[in-house]
Amino acid sequence: MKKEIIISGFGGQGVMLAGTLLCYAGMRASKEVTFFPSYGAEMRGGTANCKVIISDSPIGSPVFSEADILISLNCPSFEKFYPSVKDGGIVFVNSSLFSPPAEERSFEMVKIPANNIAEECGTVLAANIVMIGSFAKKTGILDPETILQSIPEALEGKEKLWDINKKALSAGFNA
């Protein structure tokens, strides 16, 4: 098993946190993981993305041009990255903010009203984690319990945010 995942959205939507959470959970599940962020001047434009690989065998390049999975938290990043999703791949979209038209696609699309679900959990800022919950349910790559246990590591020193993010993860999983 080797899955190449792109997570993308506006700066501030927690794209990097979602990516590192997957890495911590992958590590916890004894898998190989890498994370590669967009950085520097690219970040100043307001969009952010990261590339995560989860694999059963050692990982070479952390950078890839075609993804198995895209998790996009906003419309511009969906437009930017969906062409690089492999045939038969999965794309998660935050349908609270945008809803791509129903048309024939080479990938499967999962629509999650992540902002709404996150707001119900207490803060719209947890929309990223809602998406991760949905990702866990749909792909089965990582056990939701393992991701749950990794939240304190990914949010080290931010104890106040643990509960709300755990709630968001479960809500995303059960959506």
Binding site: T20, C23, Y24, M27, E32, V33, T34, F35, F36, P37, Y39, G40, A41, E42, P58, I59, G60, S61, P62, V63, S65, E153
Partner: protein
């Protein structure tokens, strides 16, 4: 050792701390800003010297000052900043001072871009600054190796009394992956050791002079010959990693990020039944020429770089005359494509 999820740039800091760094000087530049930022936090918390310099030029000269005292010192930068440091690096070499310099390479020439690249190979191993000197050059290809090389680089610098360069790139600097880190507590020893050459004030001994200006006839030649001897002795530090080379008819050669791409490509080539091996120099100077020469009797080579071809020249110099050496590279932040490598493998193993 403990496995820890770590960013490449943070691994530089943690490795350096474990290696006993006493003083860090740096100037911000992307894609290595996390190093300077994290150093500012960790060094002062550990009661060690941190100073944000006014330029890379000042930073490398602060390193020069710190090295004069016999303390363990480091600076870090990315390509344009490393260019600016070349003067100081030449003086460190000329004055036989130990120091560690990390280059998190980005695209060039000029201001270039901030993407990971490998355009500074020549600058690193063929000179860079003026004069007949070499830098012991290490090339990590993972976060864990960034950590261990930074940790061990100080010992090497002191062993050979020379600047050590760690040549990495924006991809490895920015990426996060699990890395093996030491559990041993950091050394607290702050005493100034006497190495016989460092300046500490001449209390209880003859005064010392550290210099690189030798006007007397033959004196500078003597220094250069002494340096050459040391570079010869350095050869025992030559290090590389290889796999599947035994029966290979083609060997992929690359360092740093390129080697990670080769690793994927070689595995896929094997799956397709091609006899492809993998070779990665861990030290770029000294270069594993002898091992490449041994392998060249049986196999041809494909060198992959994130440049338009620099290390490939050293591979060509190393191998036997009748060996076929091909090159594939993408410059300025372009990432070599695995499919393209496989395509060339197919042609070369046909």
């Amino acid at each position: 050792m403990t496995k820890k999820l770590l960013k490449g740039n943070y691994a530089v800091v943690e490795g350096a701390l474990q290696g006993g760094i006493d003083a860090y000087f740096g100037y911000p530049i992307t894609p290595q800003n996390e190093i300077t930022e994290y150093m500012s936090q960790r060094m002062r918390a550990e009661d060690r010297v941190f100073l944000q310099a006014e330029s890379e030029l000042a930073a490398i000269n602060m390193v020069f000052g710190a090295a004069l005292t016999g303390k363990r010192t480091m600076t870090t930068s990315s390509s344009p900043g490393i260019s600016l440091m070349q003067e100081g690096i030449s003086y460190l070499a000329g004055c036989e001072l130990p120091a560690v310099i990390v280059n998190v390479q980005r695209g060039g020439p000029g201001l270039g871009n901030i993407d990971g690249a490998q355009g500074d190979y020549f600058q690193s191993v063929k000179g860079g600054g003026h004069g007949d000197y070499r830098l012991l050059t290490l090339a990590p290809s993972s976060v864990g190796e960034t950590y261990s090389m930074c940790r061990d680089s100080f010992d090497l610098a002191f062993k050979y009394r020379c600047p050590v360069l760690i040549l990495t790139d924006g991809v490895i600097g920015q990426m996060i992956e699990p890395a093996e880190v030491d559990d041993t507590p950091l050394k607290k020893d702050k005493k100034v050791k006497d190495y016989g050459w460092n300046l500490t004030g001449c209390l209880g001994r003859e005064r010392r002079v550290v210099r690189s200006l030798y006007m007397k006839e033959g004196a500078l030649e003597k220094l250069n010959l002494r340096l050459a001897e040391r570079y010869e002795a350095m050869k025992k530090e030559t290090d590389w990693e290889e796999s599947d080379t035994e029966d290979a008819s083609l060997i992929l050669v690359g360092y740093g990020t390129s080697a990670r791409i080769n690793y994927d490509a070689a595995r896929r080539a094997r799956e397709k039944g091609m006899k492809v091996g993998y070779f990665r120099p861990k030290t770029l100077y000294p270069f594993p020429s002898e091992r490449l020469k041994e392998l060249s009797g049986k196999a041809n080579f494909l060198v992959v770089e994130m440049s338009m071809g620099q290390m490939v020249e050293d591979v060509r110099l190393a191998v036997s005359k009748d060996t076929h050496v091909e090159f594939y590279g993408r410059p300025a932040g372009g990432i070599p494509e695995t499919d393209k490598i496989l395509e060339i493998c197919k042609k070369m193993t046909a």
